[in-house]
Symmetry: C2
Subunit: 173 residues, 2 copies
């Protein structure tokens, strides 16, 4: 049996549990192919580790090889998961008052950096302080100790910098 | 039964299928709590739509409310899923020759923007051309038609711009 067939059975088995309606709340919407549905599983590649005034990303040892050459970059995007907000209610919130300030206009979550959104992926630009084995010390991340890390991507000046005029809403100025 | 209990059963039921070893290849690694493991399910909030020379993001209608106010931003980060690379082999690749060029040194995927990595999350900075109902026209994204979109986040100049000197490896210059 190949993996796609296995996953199809895995997903199909949800219905047999008898609590499928609850589980379905955080399943991806229906797609033409079970392969697409089945693929949206994230892995935790590491954790945020806060000690004193240092912030480090401790990668799972099995992912350490993925850091080769990171020390050549000054800045890295860190993607992590807002795990404390991982409830069906928070993942179905589509509008918020930005920065939790009721004086700011009600705004769609895709027009904010709200930690409450359908996919709880956080994005922070960090300076790379050091890379040693499976530990990356960074500056510029405001995440809780123990937060699951999903990905690191180097900051590349060209594609990561707007090439035309930047505008922002009044509340964000 | 609450949702976490349901998901725990869902994940536990994998073993009973008899093909658990294959499924386990793309399950998250073991965590102290089933709650953490169970939470890493992504939803598709929309799709990339390429027509002629336009690139649009077509949000699922149920997520349209999340776009309120996006037109006030000139640039947006688009996160999408490299669904064509969603195989256990590609998700376990940790080192590549950047840009597919064997002349570039073998580099950890976390030090590249390779579309082959443990979590297949892509990140592109796009200019917002227009926002109409559930359609966002953008410039600056190089994704296949039909690609699943995970999130939109506005570009905020302060936190999204390095505040100290930028360095990059030789291969990326």
């Amino acid at each position: 049996m190949n993996i796609l067939a296995s996953l199809f059975i895995l997903l199909s088995s949800t219905a047999a549990i008898g609590e499928g309606a609850e589980v379905a709340d955080i399943q991806p919407p229906a797609h033409p192919s079970p392969a697409v549905t089945a693929s949206f599983a994230l892995v935790t590649v590491g954790r945020i580790e806060k000690t004193d005034r240092k912030v480090r990303i401790r990668l799972e040892p099995k992912y350490e090889a993925g850091l080769l050459g990171l020390e050549g970059w000054s800045h890295v995007w860190v993607m992590y998961w807002f795990d404390r907000n991982d409830t069906p209610e928070k993942r179905s919130t589509l509008q918020v008052h930005p920065r939790g300030n009721p004086a700011n206009p009600l705004t769609g979550v895709f027009a904010t950096r709200s930690p409450v959104r359908p996919n709880l992926i956080a994005l922070s630009l960090c300076r790379v302080v050091s890379v040693e084995q499976n530990l990356v010390e960074v500056e510029g991340i405001d995440a809780f100790d123990g937060t699951p890390v999903l990905d690191l991507k180097p900051f590349i000046p060209g594609p990561d910098t707007p090439q035309r005029a930047i505008t922002t809403p009044v509340w964000a100025k």
